[in-house]
Amino acid sequence: MNKLVIIGCDRSAGEALRSLQETGYCLPEGVIYQPLPCGGSLDVLHVLRALESGAERVLVLSCYADACRSFNGNTWAEKRTAAAQALLTEAGLGQERITYRQVSPNMSADLGAWIHTLINLEPVEAQDRA
């Protein structure tokens, strides 16, 4: 089962991940990176399908405001992530399964830290029981 699916704009998140990998970093087991051409092409279904396929958590990454090559791709990504979180809340599954972050190509260290944090969190069900 995948612990974490990262869905991100390949121009920012992809660049950050590639520079992280150039330092010798390997994605931990159970972590999958799915590139998008732009945050604007994120669909709510992408996030839901990732969870449906067994992912424990989804991390959506897009560019910072004013840094998107297509002007407002980051805004679309943020809104659709919020819509997916609202659907999860409605279904009683807990919106904390989905995390949204803005990233720039030089934030490889931050990306590594986010991945580390997310895969070491307790499973959402355990949190609910607590």
């Binding site: 051409p37 732009c38 092409s41 992408h46």
Partner: protein
């Protein structure tokens, strides 16, 4: 392939762009609403002075511009377009907040007086007079206006041997020219003060301006010109379907990771002070960058689409026009597929961002050239 480049604008910025393009052996069609500055004579240059673009169609590689150039109309077929309209300077009297008084001058009037010192009438400058130069008095002065005003202040000090002070709000010394200019000015005893948010008070005793450490009294106040985007920028942006920023200047794509001067449409580039605040040296460098952008686009004998592009399934399309509205790159249009009309993505113009695919309410748009894992299939990308 047609390798004509249309340069829009009659500013000095456009002149530099034309020079750069001619040096790279491109054919240039130069369109300006005013008389065009002198340019090098070249067989590759067609000039259209006092002409206005009235319609634009086509896409990268095959733009068609219709000009209204009285008494006749002209049509230009161009592979690429460079917008280099420059900005506009407002006359001093355009803002009622600045008191109309003989002690308050524009830089232009002072420059004329400096050139003809014997014709000075009214308040004549003298060695003991104190002349204040104000940058950013009402709104931020453009970089070129700052350079010209500081050079004028130095020239005034050297010519009339009077006391000179400079008032500023945000003076960014970020070029070699400004660095050496401000250093020379300080060495010659010219003092810089930070302006407070207050308008000058002018009376018969002189000019009084509040600054960070008190009030500065002077005999003359010279105000740097205010620069604004040209009033016809919005009209041209609408015709070209390129983005205008909230400040009224043309907006270039992501300034952090991409080449400067790219607009949101392929084949349309921005140059000079219609999209950035620059002095002459900066605008000249930007003109070279714009020409380089064209050379990258037209350097080969054919145009290449992006590896990932969108494609419309014409039988699924319900012609809701959502894709046309949401495409940030104006790459989608309506087209006839036999007897059916549906949206069509212009391949050469598509950046492959996928905004149209994600927004399509009937999922009629797919992305070509992208690998989709099994768990994501049936989603919008498939």
């Amino acid at each position: 392939m047609n390798k004509t480049v249309a340069v829009l604008g009659g500013s000095a910025d456009a002149g530099w762009v034309v020079e750069e393009l001619l040096a790279l052996s491109y054919s240039v069609a130069w369109v300006g609403q005013e008389d065009l500055p002198d340019s090098p004579r070249s067989d590759g240059l067609r000039a259209y002075p006092r002409s206005r673009v009235s319609a634009v169609s086509g896409c990268v590689g095959s733009f068609r511009l219709e000009l209204s150039a009285p008494p006749e109309r002209a049509v230009i077929d161009a592979a690429a377009i460079i917008v280099a309209m420059g900005n506009q300077r407002l006359p001093l009297g355009a803002d009622a907040r600045i008191p109309a008084h003989p002690r308050v001058l524009s830089t232009q009037v002072l420059a004329e007086r400096l050139s003809a010192p014997r014709q000075i009438s009214g308040i004549a400058p003298a060695q003991r007079q104190h002349i204040l130069f104000a940058l950013d008095m009402l709104e931020l002065s453009g970089k070129q206006a700052v350079v010209e005003t500081l050079e004028l202040a130095l020239r005034t000090h050297d010519t009339w041997h009077c006391e000179v002070s400079v008032l500023y709000r945000e003076l960014q010394v970020d070029s070699d020219l400004l660095e050496s200019l401000t250093r020379t000015m300080r060495e010659q005893g010219i003092v810089f003060h930070r302006l407070q948010d207050a308008l000058p008070v002018v009376d018969d005793s002189g000019v009084h301006v509040k600054h960070a450490d008190g009030v500065l009294d002077g005999d003359l106040l010279v105000i740097a010109p205010v620069v604004r985007p040209r009033s016809d920028s919005a009209e041209l942006a609408g015709l070209l379907r390129i983005a205008l920023g909230a400040d009224g200047y043309f907006q270039q794509l992501n300034v952090r990771s991409y080449r400067p001067g790219l607009s949101n449409r392929k084949g349309i580039y921005l140059a000079g002070r219609c999209h950035l605040d620059a002095d002459d040296a900066g605008a000249r460098a930007d003109a070279a960058q714009a020409a380089a952008n064209v050379a990258i686009l037209l350097g080969q004998d054919h145009l290449q689409p992006e590896t990932v592009i969108a494609e419309v399934g014409s039988t699924k399309c319900i012609r809701c026009l959502t894709c046309i509205r949401t495409c940030p790159h104006a790459a989608v249009e309506l087209a006839a597929y036999g007897q059916v009309t549906a949206a069509k993505v212009v391949e050469l113009a598509c950046f492959g961002c996928g905004a149209c695919a994600a927004n399509c309410p009937v999922r009629a748009i797919t992305m070509k050239g992208i690998d989709v894992p099994v768990w994501l299939q049936e989603a919008a990308l498939v």
